[in-house]
Amino acid sequence: MESLLPEEVLHSAKKVTDEAEVFQISSRETPIHFEANRLKQIQTKESTSIALRIFREGKIGFAQASGGDGAASLIDMAVETAQLGSVAKFQFPSLMSYPEVSIFDPQVEKVTMEEMVKMGEELIDELTQHTSDILCDVGVTKGTASVHILNSQGGAASYNKSFFSFSLEGVLIRNEDMLFVADSEGSCCLPVSVDRLAGDIIRQLEWAREKAAVPTRLLPVVFTPSGVASAFLSPLALAFNGKTILEGASPLKGKLGKQLFDSNFSMWDDATINYSLGSCPCDDEGVGSRRLPLISGGGISNFLYDLQTAALAGTQSTGHGRRVAGGFPKPGVSSLIIGEGDVSFESMIADIKEGLIVEQLIGAEQGNLLSGDFGGNVLLGYKVENGKIVGRVKDTMISGNVYRVLKELLGIGDKRRWVEGILYTPHLYCLGVSVAAKCR
């Protein structure tokens, strides 16, 4: 690429602006796709993107470019938008030290495409040995990314990250009945074991072997870790977002210190866990990462802020400025962690006379997320009867509200696991979730 070094962009930008910040990310990724148990496609994706944020006459301008564009047009575009931009309320962070977080493993790059193909084949073999007619779409991905942030206050951050992940979606069709099973596993370092992934998928297949029907009424529900992600992640991430707080659209506004959740329920965000996919030494604005308590013993302790939102709210950035595809940094989670409890999954099930285990919902994000509503079709879930899992439910919807459902929990699981590399959570045993099923 032609002359798009962050230093040069910053240098040129400083000549025509009050303040400037350059964010550059370069990545190289190799995803391997298996479709219907067969190796389908191998890809290599390489890209470099550079974003420029400026203050000019006190207003924010923004531009992003990739490809052969020169730095000159990047500056022109940013200057143009600054004429109409919003007022800059913050200052770019000056040079600071960041926490030590390990997120790069040089071994990741060295894994060959042949080895990745073999890993995918082994995973598919393991599943087809269990259920011969399952058709699996498997992804095996390796990649590296390198991030550079520079600003006119002397701030400078730079890090390399590696990642390796497996994803699996299996479908089993018998007549017109379709069963979908899915899971993923990933890390910044090797080895990434597929045993947990394969084990969980096989368990899903076992539990879904029989079919069962639930009645239309309130039922106790156990959310598995992926069920927790499916139902609660979006409304919670939205409610703790500093922007939602600032505009008064979060039910948590003005509730710092208030007890709104079960007293055993705790949740925090932490980008400093070694080799976790969401980890990094600093956020996308160069503010250092840290462990930020959000819910402590059921009480609201903090919200997520980036620089501008924090300044508008009269507080400090918490290091949660995240950029998505050519946009401004916005508050966002890195890795959400839910504290573990002391109830085993087995004893949750044993406790239920009639209830539901929810593993995966579809359409869960289509309700009124702002008010904490969740709901959707149970894509994968099982009925529990007299303490035993009796089979998979279909044609069933659940709906509820996170503030009501998590206010009093029947139990928090004693084991946790990562879901999609973003949430580390135990099982949650909830009382009284509304269930609607198709009449038979």
Binding site: K45, G85, S86, E247, G367, N368, L370, S434, C439
Partner: protein
């Protein structure tokens, strides 16, 4: 090197492509280049939160060797020969099952899009002024806590060339506007919104003052509206939501890549099978002029076409890429689309709709003792067999009349059962351009969908 900022560069790119397409070791190679420029503005409450411009360019190579694909994406052109070699190496490694591409003649064409008012030529200040006005309308309405307005226009130019001798340049502009009003009363928070789009025509987002006022009022009204009681209902869908239903519940199922390698799915989706009543016709058509899902050639260079998926209730067609068509011995329909140069094309819908029938809204309504009228789009998704989609606006129906406003409802069902349960189709087909489709990590792809009012018996509605 800039990709194609000038005529001279375009010619240079063209020469370079034909050069690298000469010497390769694959059954088929294609190259796509793309240059795009976008403007976006976003508001939260009274603050303009984002105003930014982006300019991206890049390309990719896809190679086919003995039935398997290699794909390489990049953002600089300098090593094109190496990228082709890498894609071929990847494809060799994949070693899948061979198939035959049906022969396609080389296409040489340049496709431009002419808009009555090209958004790219409208000044930033004009865009901001219009959005300021909409944002103010929302915020000045009673009980409104905040607003959420996002606008984006993009001009894209895509160059496609393949080893069969095709060379196609296509303009692919797109524009979207989403507006939401957020109302609050103590702990109650409700929102209402709408979204629309066009193929880069700025006129589509002008003159919306009345609709904007409407969403602000509705958000406030939802604060005191009850939630539906969960269970089975007869429902009437408005054209917007019925279009989402056509897309989610049936459109995805007719994408051949879900079918071609799966024996069971092939049996389920066998042509000639009855899916619904005689009045049901579902179409996907990228050739309609000037909708967001319209295009002349797909991202494999296949000309687009009008395809009946369901005709008089019977499955008569499906959407194909060249590969799925080749593997199933059917005709490529021109539905292989890629979100951008970062992705390979996959089978996608374009403009999907249910054709008009003969029932009037009043007739449909009059026959319902207790039901729900659902309007407008909030979201939708499918697992092929089961679908869910949510309505932005809902009313109880009692004794043949519209009754109280309800909180937004989520509907769900089994596609095979639900299509058979459509028992009335209106005559008022309307297309909705506010959606984007996601599949295989490629989202949001510009599509449109539509329908007349339709009535469905026994649909599961989530609720308290």
């Amino acid at each position: 090197m800039p990709l194609f900022s000038s005529k001279a560069t375009i010619i240079a790119v063209r020469d370079q492509i034909s050069d690298v397409l000469k010497g390769h070791n694959a059954d088929y190679v294609e190259i796509r280049f793309e240059e795009s420029q976008a403007t976006h503005l976003a508001y939260r409450g009274e603050r303009l939160e984002e105003i930014g411009r982006t300019r991206n360019s890049g390309g990719n190579v896809r190679a086919l060797v003995k039935g398997s694909w290699g794909f390489v994406s990049f953002d600089c052109l300098e090593k094109l020969k190496d990228e082709v070699a890498l894609a071929v190496e990847e494809a060799r490694l994949a070693n899948g099952e061979e198939f035959k591409f049906l022969p396609a003649g080389p296409v040489l064409d340049t496709v431009r899009v002419v808009s009555p008012k090209d958004a790219a030529s409208v000044s930033l200040a004009t865009k901001k002024q219009l959005l300021d006005e909409y944002d103010d309308i929302i915020l000045s309405s009673p009980k409104i806590q905040s607003s959420n307005v996002t606008y984006r226009d993009i001009t894209r130019k895509v160059v496609f060339a393949n080893s069969e001798g095709s060379y196609i340049e296509q303009a692919k502009p797109d524009l979207t506007l989403r507006l939401a009003a957020i109302a609050r009363d103590n702990n109650e928070i409700q929102q209402a919104g709408f979204s629309l789009g066009s193929r880069g025509d700025f006129c589509a987002v002008e003159g919306l003052q009345k609709q904007v006022k409407g969403i602000a009022r509705r958000a406030a009204a939802l604060l005191t509206a009850p939630q539906a009681k969960g269970g089975e209902y007869t429902i009437i869908l408005d054209p917007i939501l019925a279009g989402v239903f056509a897309h989610e519940a049936f459109g995805h199922l007719s994408e051949a890549d879900f079918v071609y390698q799966n024996e069971q799915m092939r049996k389920i989706m066998v042509l000639g099978r009855r899916f619904g009543g005689k009045q049901l016709n579902i179409v996907d058509d990228a050739t309609i002029s000037n909708l967001r899902g319209s295009y002349k050639y797909d991202d494999e260079g296949t000309p687009s076409s009008k395809n009946y998926l369901i005709q008089e209730g019977v499955l008569v067609g499906r959407l194909h890429s060249r590969e799925t068509a080749g593997r199933m011995g059917e005709k490529a329909t021109g539905n292989a689309r890629a979100l951008s140069y970062l992705f390979p094309p996959i089978v996608r819908m374009s403009n999907t709709f249910i054709e008009s029938g003969h029932s009037s809204f009043e007739e449909m309504l009059g026959e319902i003792k207790e039901g729900i009228y659902v309007k407008d789009w909030y979201g939708g998704t499918t697992s092929l067999e089961m679908f869910t989609f949510s309505a932005g606006e809902a009313y109880m129906i009692r004794n043949g009349k519209l009754a109280e406003l309800l909180r937004p409802v989520v509907l769900s069902g089994n596609v095979f059962v639900t299509l058979k349960n459509i028992d009335a189709i209106g005559g008022d087909l309307r297309m909705n351009q506010g959606g984007g489709c996601g599949k295989g990590g490629q989202s949001p792809l510009p599509v449109s969908n539509g329908s007349p009012h339709i009535r469905i018996r026994r649909c599961v509605v989530g609720g308290r």
